[in-house]
Symmetry: C2
Subunit: 380 residues, 2 copies
């Protein structure tokens, strides 16, 4: 059985990138690799909207989140955590592990954070050293307005730390213009690579926080990253860097605007198809939805746990369900990176088959037809 | 843009086989390669329904067709060619090139050959040394009854040469039981490999013909194949043999019955989907259709040349059209090898988009819905 990935990440890696990463290991101090790392270091900052260096480390996205906490704050310091899903909660857990005092602005899963509430929380806690926020919350598909949040803290001493791991590339990130101080990314989302690389961009304001921080950190040390730059502070993940070099070329060939339009089109098509099949959109206006995944609540009587299992075991398609209280209710279809409309046709073909298996009644072709219709309308 | 192949061959090669073929080149006289070739030589005959050796050569399928002509007959000898499509015509061209006198039993494109007409032709030309027939005629999607043709010649001196290049694996081939004398295969159809290998199986009766033949031949020489067996008479295509070894494992894991049922299901789904979209089935009963491809005539006003170009340029999907007088009218969708129902969902998604581009009117999801319905019905 063929396996198909339609998750928020890892995503399907195009053969071109798999082959680039399958090359023999080149030593990272070789002239060839140094030239290639220079190109990577030149290619990343524009994607973050920054003139500052972007550091690449061997780690998952969670490592980058921990690195930000471990480098920018000290035990006992106050931070504000903006949380409307699973990854907002992860920022809380990491902050607890590092002994920070976290004030949480919580918003229900399925909503976007209100910048006004963030400003109010800041007013209540003027001593915070920073705010930690997730851009695209992949547990729900909500997009947070990090631009407005950046604006709130621009003229304060508090830094803005953004987990842009899934949102980067798919949605605009203008780090310098929006006043964001730490922006985190990872390889297995829009970059279309296997997991294993994380990206960290730091503003001058962030460096002030780093220099003041008591840590503790070593592998995560931003100061070591800066000291060894442009090379890596530890052995770099060579295969993934070879892939990243090629990924930047692919992104350049497609162009960021086209990349974003493609993802917006996929999100629109997936949402319409889910609605046509009787699902209800999880993110409702005025809340903003991410184009990384499309999340929807299953029709009455359909358990998404059973649906996911059928999709995976019988049809080889991996999509994700709801976490925590949304388990069994939510369905999340990922379409980030190399996914195209015809992949969605295959994924929705399997979804329709699995829904029929689960006893749901509808005319076959209802979902796939919406994909075809949306793509065709989008072009004409 | 992602590229998707839905042609009668080359077909999409599963990553498992690509990786097997991407290994370093092993010398063909090494102990490892000799053991692997022994396993290949043991694995192929059951797929041909024979107890005789199956020879593997570095060549396309056409090379195997030429080898059969060059080894089994002599200039000036009479043969009967059964022709109902492009590959039947190829047998005629090769026979002309080798100076044979060919009597042709022709049947219109889109029909299966009538075994009775073959018997009648034999009665008119009792001096023929052999009959050449295509099993699955991929230019039209017709399947010829090679079993019945084998029966006609069983107790005669004439040998039966079968081009089973696309039909092998997808449809049963019982060479010994059906009295077939030369059966030809190739790597890039049911075997799911890249093009480059051809297979030749020979009965004892075929060897009598070979020993009598005046050639000319050298690379194609069956006597050299026998002399060097189990090794190759020339440098073997090592990468493809590495892939073939893995392909035989994959076929063994799926099982031939399941492999055939899968292809029958894909043929049924593709035909229903095409009919639902306004196409008309090209092969009508009592003529038999091959499960290698599904061929259908386009609805009034749709030029399949334009359609193919749109599919390829705009959606990255390669399907094939009609050859000769069917150019612009016929559409042929391949689903041989590793193709599955979700691949068909993607291909039909693209076909629907391209049909909308060409101005054809229908409810989007009409074709993909038939795929979903047929697969689901087939399972329940």
């Amino acid at each position: 059985m063929k396996l198909r990935l339609a998750t928020p990440g890892p995503t399907e890696v195009p053969q071109r990138l798999l082959l680039a990463g399958a090359r023999e290991i080149v030593h990272h101090r070789s002239a060839e690799m140094e030239a290639l790392i220079d190109e990577i270091n030149a290619g990343l900052p524009p994607l973050f909207g920054t003139g500052s260096p972007v550091y690449t480390i061997a780690s998952s996205g969670t490592g980058a989140m921990e690195a930000a906490v471990a480098n920018c704050f000290s035990p006992g310091e106050e931070v504000l955590i903006v949380s409307n899903g699973y990854f907002g909660e992860r920022f809380q857990a990491i902050s607890r592990a590092y002994g920070l005092t976290a004030h949480v602005v919580e918003s229900p899963w399925g909503t976007s954070i209100s910048p006004r509430e963030v400003a109010d929380a800041h007013a209540r806690h003027p001593g915070i050293r920073g705010v930690l926020v997730v851009y695209s919350e992949t547990s729900t598909g909500a997009l947070n307005d990090v631009r407005a949040i950046g604006e709130i803290f621009r003229d304060t001493d508090a830094i803005v730390v953004v987990d842009a791991i899934s949102g980067l590339l798919v949605h605009p990130v203008e780090m310098d213009a929006w006043g964001l101080d730490v922006v985190l990314g990872a390889s297995h989302k829009g970059f279309m690579l296997p997991p294993g690389l994380a990206f960290i961009a730091l503003s001058d304001k962030a460096w002030t926080a780093v220099e003041r921080s008591a840590g503790p950190n070593y592998y995560w040390s931003f100061q070591r990253l800066r000291q060894f730059y442009p090379m890596s502070s530890s052995s770099p993940a060579v295969s993934l860097l070879l892939g990243l070099h090629e990924s930047l070329k692919m992104l350049g060939e497609e162009g960021l605007d086209a990349f974003r339009e493609r993802h917006a089109g996929l999100g629109r098509a997936a949402e319409r198809a889910l609605v046509a099949l009787g699902f209800s959109t999880f993110i409702q206006p005025p809340h903003r939805r991410s184009n990384v995944i499309t999340a929807a609540l299953a029709p009455e009587g359909i358990d998404t746990g059973t649906l996911l299992k059928t999709l995976s075991v019988k049809y080889g398609v991996t999509v994700t369900g709801g976490q925590a209280h949304l388990k069994g209710k939510l369905l999340r279809i990922g379409h980030v990176g190399a996914a195209d409309a015809l992949d969605l046709c295959a994924v929705f073909g399997a979804l329709e088959m699995a829904l029929l298996d689960c006893g749901h009644r509808f005319t076959p072709g209802t979902g796939t037809g919406e994909i075809v219709r949306t793509v065709h309308e989008g072009e004409n």
